[in-house]
């Protein structure tokens, strides 16, 4: 839809689109570094991944509180699973994450089941997972932005960045609230599964699912927006986030 007039919500859409594109753009140097590293002859070992740490630590700024590269199973020459992941939470100082990577360990959690891993693997496209409880890393309510990494043969893993839901809310809620007031409605940002990320109403809480509309089905149609009496749903640019405005 090409409409040169401004529409209510344009500011929110531009803000969200800017945040999302900014995080994905920030991942590009790490993606390039990972693909270069994996293309080196002789295979990659778990310790080789440490060479990505400068690009990873560089990412820990602004909204991004965690970042890194996660290897596909059996990609590394010396172990089945592996990653290079750093977080700046809660201390502010970048710290490398270590979790159990031994499938025989009692504390092993299989990361290849997480959407931030499976969606880029299965679609070859970028993805935002969340809001979800990131029990593998920070135990916080998180949005994880991931891009697929291509290796010599096929999918080699993902590069990703974590943003805390509360920080995303702090950045977006003022404009969302202004829109809700202007429209005398409630306004929310939802993901492609219809899960609320930020909302101006406590009755449409973060983490809840919007059931009045079938948002997952709408998402797959590729339509830019839905307008119904009392309800407007529109995409925030190319970001997998939509703005939902509903009459109270």
């Amino acid at each position: 839809m090409n409409d040169s007039r401004t529409r209510p919500g344009d500011e929110v859409v531009a803000l969200v689109s800017g945040i999302v594109e900014g995080v994905f753009a920030g991942l590009k140097p790490l993606l390039a570094a990972a693909e270069t590293l994996l293309a080196e002859p002789g295979g990659t070992t778990a310790t080789d991944l440490d060479r990505l740490s400068p690009q990873v630590v560089e990412l820990l700024d602004g909204l991004v509180v965690g970042a890194g590269f996660i290897a596909a199973p059996r990609l590394l020459a010396d172990q089945q699973f592996g990653f290079e992941w750093w977080t700046s939470a809660p201390s502010g100082t970048p710290t490398q994450l270590f979790i159990s990577l031994d499938p025989a360990s009692e504390y092993f959690l299989d990361y290849t089941r997480q959407s931030w891993f499976t969606v880029p693997r299965d679609t070859g496209r970028r993805h935002i997972t969340g809001p979800y409880v990131d029990y593998l890393c920070t135990d916080e309510y998180t949005l994880t932005f991931t891009l697929p990494v291509r290796g010599a043969e096929d999918f080699a893993g993902v590069v990703g960045a974590d943003v805390f839901v509360r920080e995303f809310e702090h950045t977006t809620l003022p404009k969302l609230h202004a829109l809700a007031v202007e429209q005398q409605s409630r306004a929310a940002l939802v993901n492609a599964q219809g899960r609320v990320i930020v909302s101006t109403s406590a009755r449409q809480a973060t983490g809840s699912l919007v059931r009045e509309l079938d948002i997952p089905a709408w998402w797959t149609t590729g339509e830019e927006s839905i307008r119904r009496p009392g309800t407007t749903l529109r995409r925030c640019g190319d970001a997998p986030v939509a703005l939902l405005v509903t009459a109270p």
Partner: protein
């Protein structure tokens, strides 16, 4: 060598302790970590000073705890260059120390931990039924299948992972955190791999039923099934405790 260990587990392991019975508490924490495999065989422990700082106790207290661990044969101290305290994982089945713990536990404490766990896991199941997306359901189904053929420690892991997935599907960082914390209570006693001798498939059946209730958005049923599942685990622990203390 950097030991790859669960971030949450390590954080819980080194959380500061209360004032009372500190040497005993440090000992228990380390015994749990070693018998549960959180600290691997031959892994070098941090220095006494580092341990003291991590636990928030004095070095004297740490030394006392290390003496006790040496007496249990769980730690070996080597002197000189390259020396230090090293973990000696028990050679026999790791179930033996668990039996010790279960013998030592009181049924009153067991009931209390159970009550707390039921409150957390039950509430998580109800919320998960309200908030699970299609993606969450896929992960819950995978987690429910994990226990089908699992025995021993793999069954414990499958139990813990299943309830962790439910808490995450509830979209609650706090309930997830509490779930993890409670799973570690009493040295992970709750999900001991003692199994269901008369019906080994029962855990799989129950997990499937909980996922079905969550998928059909029946929060009350998901909660009820989860509560019964935990009560059943407590019952079995209590029965085993009574067996262990029988003269």
């Amino acid at each position: 060598m950097v030991k790859r260990m669960s971030h949450g587990a390590r954080a819980a392991l080194f959380a500061p302790l209360d004032q009372t019975g500190r040497a005993e508490a440090v000992t228990r924490r380390l015994v749990d970590a070693i018998t549960l495999g959180l600290l691997a065989d031959a892994e070098q422990l941090p220095t006494e000073t580092e341990l003291a700082a991590q636990f928030g106790v004095s070095t004297v207290t740490v030394r006392e705890a290390l003496v006790a661990l040496r007496q249990h044969g769980l730690v070996e101290t080597r002197r000189g260059r390259g020396g230090g305290s090293f973990v000696r994982a028990p050679a026999d089945s790791p179930v033996a120390p668990w039996r010790e713990r279960l013998r030592a536990v009181s049924l009153a404490d067991l009931r209390d931990v159970g009550d707390h766990y039921i409150a957390v896991a039950g509430a998580a199941a109800r919320l998960a039924a309200e908030r699970s997306s299609a993606e969450d359901l896929v992960r819950l189904e995978l987690a429910a299948e994990d226990i089908r053929a699992a025995t021993g420690p793999a069954a414990s892991r499958a139990e813990r992972h299943f309830h962790l997935e439910v808490a995450a599907a509830a979209q609650s960082p706090r309930l997830t955190h509490q779930e993890l914390q409670l799973q570690g209570e009493q040295g992970g006693l709750l999900w001991l791999p003692i199994g269901h001798p008369e019906d080994p498939g029962v855990a799989h059946t129950v997990h499937r039923a909980i996922v079905t209730a969550i998928a059909s958005r029946d929060g009350e049923l998901a909660r009820k099934l989860t509560e019964e599942h935990i009560l059943d685990a407590i019952d079995r622990l209590a029965a085993l405790h009574l067996e262990l203390i029988a003269p």
